[in-house]
């Protein structure tokens, strides 16, 4: 009898656990919007063309992103404070992993993602070519430069600017011994104690591509001889700097430096004299978003001054919006020498070479 009761409770537990799966059935996708709506509504500190009542009825947004989780949770919580009826959830993976997963889900016609934010413009262009983005002209997009938006406008927008340089622990490495530019990293004294981002990182791809103009052709081959360790996220890189496991971090994101400095960790940032390789995080609505109205509402908020302030505060990133201040204590973008790829198509075309070299360096090939 007790076994039967246990069985009943177990079935009830599974039914309860699985019930969410069936409540979140895909809504009918909204038609692409070719123009900003005639009368955007002034919502809670931002303008929107989304149907707020329908968004609240949908009751959820799912955010696919590459950013560090602790920041993502806080950004989503800021949105949910404004719209408590809209629950937020997220999937966090590094860029290549996230994109592979999104495409696998779409191949199986499982549409879970509403908003897709990724830090690799090559993958963004690929997704647009595959018809993955829904077109929605947010009234807030007017505040963004034309080069920060898709062509035609409305598919995706740069939401974050990410400069990267070098970082070290000043308690372990004196300032005068720290590298000043990319070529200094080839000093054999950094052998076995230098880290970088993994092949899945869009930022690593930008660094790999962008510094080629400032270093010799065989730079990456020589760098490989130092046996650099590759990590999935900037958090792992900075943890190892703090602990002294690594002495220098390449592709050290300025945002991570700011976050660790705010925690009181002993880290220092170096802006290489040749410049800081930089990439954006790009945001857009997924074509078959199951919560399309809520996704539009979120995008409007996220691109607004308030949304961008939230992003700056919790991820320590710089905003592409000029009316949003940089993170506390950070240099403004205007005072940095940023190195963006001039031709994103050419950059994207180098992905196979980049992967081959990175996998070889990390021991996978």
């Amino acid at each position: 009898m007790k076994t039967c009761n246990l069985m009943k409770t177990g079935i009830a537990a599974l039914i309860f656990a699985g019930s969410g799966a069936f409540s979140a059935t895909a809504q009918e996708a909204l038609a692409d919007a070719d123009a900003v709506c005639a009368n955007p509504v002034e919502a809670k500190g931002f303008k929107t063309c989304a149907d707020i009542a329908k968004a609240e009825a949908e009751g959820e947004i799912v955010f696919y992103a590459t950013d560090v989780e602790s920041g993502t949770v806080k950004v989503l919580a800021d949105f949910q404070k404004l719209y408590p009826k809209i629950k937020t959830s997220y999937v966090r993976l590094q860029a290549g992993a996230l994109y592979a997963r999104l495409l696998a889900e779409r191949q199986g016609q499982s549409y879970l993602a509403d908003i897709f934010q990724i830090g690799d413009v090559g993958l963004v262009m690929d997704f647009q070519k595959r018809g993955g983005y829904a077109r929605y002209l947010s009234p807030e997009m007017a505040a963004y430069k034309a080069e920060y938006k898709s062509s035609p406008e409305g598919y995706w927008t740069w939401a974050v600017l990410m400069p990267a340089g070098l970082a070290y622990n000043p308690q372990i490495t004196p300032e005068d011994q720290a590298p000043k530019d990319w070529n200094d990293l080839l000093d054999p004294k950094w052998s076995g104690v230098v880290s970088m981002k993994s092949a899945n990182s869009g930022m690593q791809h930008v660094t790999w591509y962008q510094i080629k103009e400032h270093v010799s052709q065989d730079y990456w081959d020589k760098f490989a001889e130092l046996k650099p360790r590759a990590f999935d996220s900037m958090v792992q890189q900075f943890d190892r700097l703090v602990n002294g496991e690594d002495k220098v971090a390449m592709t050290a994101q300025y945002a991570a430096y700011l976050e660790y400095r705010a925690k009181g960790a002993p880290v220092a940032f170096i802006a290489p004299s040749s410049g800081l390789p930089s990439g954006p995080e790009v945001v857009g609505i997924v074509k078959e978003a199951p919560h399309a109205n809520a996704a539009r509402l979120f995008l409007d908020w996220y691109l607004s001054t308030e949304g961008q302030k939230s992003s700056v505060a919790h991820w320590y990133f710089h905003s592409p919006r000029e009316d949003v201040a940089p993170p506390e204590g950070a240099l403004p973008i205007s005072e940095m020498k940023l190195l963006f790829p001039a031709d994103w198509q050419a950059y994207a075309a180098t992905r196979p070479d980049f992967l081959r070299q990175m996998r070889s360096m990390s021991g996978l090939q």
Binding site: I11, Q107, R229, D232, S362
Partner: protein
């Protein structure tokens, strides 16, 4: 005569009804289990032959190119074999010594030590790997720092090496070796050992010349089983191997499937190769067991007599406590310390302490959801799993159904497939199903049930086979239907064993990583992959707090279950 005629009249009618319900339930269970096990493997095999666009299914071009390409992966396959051999060697050596000390000697505190030996199983390999990365990192690990503090030069240990990976795997995935070897030792007739002692052999000589040969088949069986487990191990290789440029097959599959463009074909071919190695290893293990290699274990009643170890008592007890210290106290201590830090550091002069990580962990809806989801899945999978698995065990071992042996092989199949390979296979299989379960807890439940089938069936088989057939036959002779007989005879007799199997399945579900990592969706987060995710993007200190929470959750659940079991047993005895 009159009684016989009543039986003859009632028997066929009732048996007919019983056969019908038995037949239907048997057919349904076999179909469902067969589907759950074989359908994903079909996808895995098909993908391994896909030499066209890896993101198109069914494949547009098929060939053996991915298998040929594996020749270039010889280093990864070699790494896998090397680390599996090392870890098996360490696990079996430690397991043998511990088992011998705790079953054949009279050291004090045996009961407590035996309980403590189970703790690494609750701690999980992932948590073990995280804590050993704090303890034994080459520059900053506690052990190396302590060594330097006491004047040592250079480092004494580096966990980011193949040996480091093997060590952590042996500590946290090899506890099964201790369980298996001690079971063999407990079943061993001590008469031969006593004979050797009477003839004047020393204790050490008795152990080497009598005990060891007697339990050698059991040790060999454990070694083969542990080796197969180590081949499919993932967590330690992920946390400790990748930073050291050291890939094994499971971590290579992880990298190949979670990158763009994904190389599903190569990953599947690697998965199939691992499956074949594990299948061959486990087939050898089964052959060894079935060959009757345990014939030294007699059915004769005996009372195990323990050797008095004299002055060696404290050395042996010290070895056991050292194991507990290394596998439980040190890793958990390092984790707890890190979980209270503002930023993770083992350099104490720069450490700042806070309780914020626990507040953050509990304040994150995703972490709370992950804990609740894991508990619900553990409860649901264990409860439904135990029920279905009891029926399966009955079908395999008691029903005399033709082809029961094939069913047994099918059910044991997932054991030969590394968890994460199976997770990948389930992902593809269910992404391509018309029923959309992807991203839900249902799919995780199905995944857990499938990969835990061998564990549950193996555990329950031992229990079912202990129940004398004559009791069931008696019920049938008296005209009870099959379902009535199961409900009134078989299940009540099996209750203690069922509860033990339930607990095992519950723990295995809560700590599951390989399958969950592929099947977890935005609204179906579970704790083990959430810890991996946190480790890779949220910082060591928050990850440590989550790992402590997971370990405590398992401990509390286990304690609760022990309490419930004790109460039920007490009630059973009273009634």
């Amino acid at each position: 005569m009159a009684l016989q005629s009543i039986d003859a009249a009632a028997g066929p009618r009732r048996r007919g009804l019983g056969l019908t319900s038995q037949g239907i339930i048997t057919a349904v269970i076999l179909l469902v289990c067969g589907f759950l096990v074989l359908y994903p493997l079909f996808f895995l095999f098909a993908e391994s032959l896909n030499v066209g666009d890896p993101q198109v299914f069914p494949p547009q071009r098929v060939g053996i190119g991915n298998y040929v390409d594996m020749l270039f992966d010889w280093r990864i396959i070699g790494n896998t074999l090397k680390v599996a051999l090392f870890s098996t060697g360490i696990a079996v050596t430690i397991g043998f010594v511990l088992a011998w000390v705790l079953t054949r000697t009279d050291i004090p505190g045996r009961a407590v030590l035996e309980r403590l030996m189970e703790v690494p199983f609750y701690v999980t390999p992932l948590v073990g790997a995280l804590s050993w990365s704090i303890l034994a990192a080459p520059q900053s690990g506690f052990l190396n720092q302590a060594w330097a503090y006491f004047g040592g030069s250079n480092r004494i240990i580096d966990v980011y090496t193949p040996m480091g990976v093997a060590w952590v795997m042996a500590l946290f995935e090899g506890s099964v070796a201790f369980v298996m070897i001690s079971a063999a030792m407990k079943s061993m007739d001590p008469a031969l050992e006593e004979g050797a002692r009477v003839m004047g052999a020393s204790k050490l000589r008795t152990m080497i010349t009598v005990t060891l040969p007697l339990v050698a088949p059991g040790v060999l069986g454990a070694a083969i089983f542990v080796f197969a487990e180590m081949l499919g191990s993932f967590a330690a290789a992920l946390v400790l191997g990748i930073p050291g440029h050291f890939y094994v097959i499971t971590t290579a599959i992880w990298e190949l499937t979670l990158s763009y463009p994904p190389d599903y074909g190569r990953a599947s071919a690697l998965g199939i190769s691992l499956f074949l190695i594990m299948f061959a290893t486990l087939a050898f293990y089964r052959w060894l067991v079935r060959k009757g290699a345990y014939s030294t274990i007699s059915g004769k009643a005996f009372r195990p007599r323990r050797m008095q170890m004299g002055r060696w008592t404290w050395v042996l007890a010290g070895f056991c406590w050292l194991y507990v210290f290394v596998a439980v106290v040190m890793p958990l201590g390092a984790l707890v310390l890190t979980s209270f830090q503002r930023f993770a550091t083992v350099l104490m002069h720069q450490a700042q302490f806070t309780t914020q990580n626990y507040w953050t962990a509990f304040s994150l809806a995703s972490v709370r959801d992950a804990i609740v989801n894991s508990l619900m899945l553990g409860f649901g999978t264990a409860t439904i799993g135990v029920f279905v698995m009891v029926l399966l065990v009955w079908i395999i071992y008691r029903s005399r159904m033709p082809g029961a042996g094939i069913v047994e092989y099918m059910v044991m199949f997932p054991q030969a497939v590394p968890r994460m390979v199976f997770g990948l296979a389930i992902l593809w299989a269910w992404l391509n199903m018309p029923v959309s379960l992807y991203g839900s807890l249902w799919l995780l439940g199905i995944g857990y049930f499938t990969v835990l089938l061998p564990l549950g069936v193996r555990t329950l088989a031992g229990v079912v086979l202990q129940v004398d057939k004559s009791l069931e036959e008696c019920a049938r002779v008296c005209g009870a239907s099959w379902t009535h007989q199961l409900r009134t005879i078989t299940l009540p007799l099996l209750k203690p064993g069922i509860l033990a199997a339930w607990l095992l399945l519950f723990i295995a579900s809560v700590r599951e990583l390989g399958v969950s990592i592929y099947l977890m969706g935005p609204n179906s987060k579970v704790i083990a992959p959430a810890i991996v995710s946190s480790w890779s993007s949220a910082g060591t200190e928050l990850t440590a707090a989550m790992a402590v929470i997971q370990t405590l959750t398992i401990f509390i659940a286990v304690m609760l279950m022990f309490w419930v079991t004790a109460r039920l047993s007490k009630q059973g005895n009273e009634s």
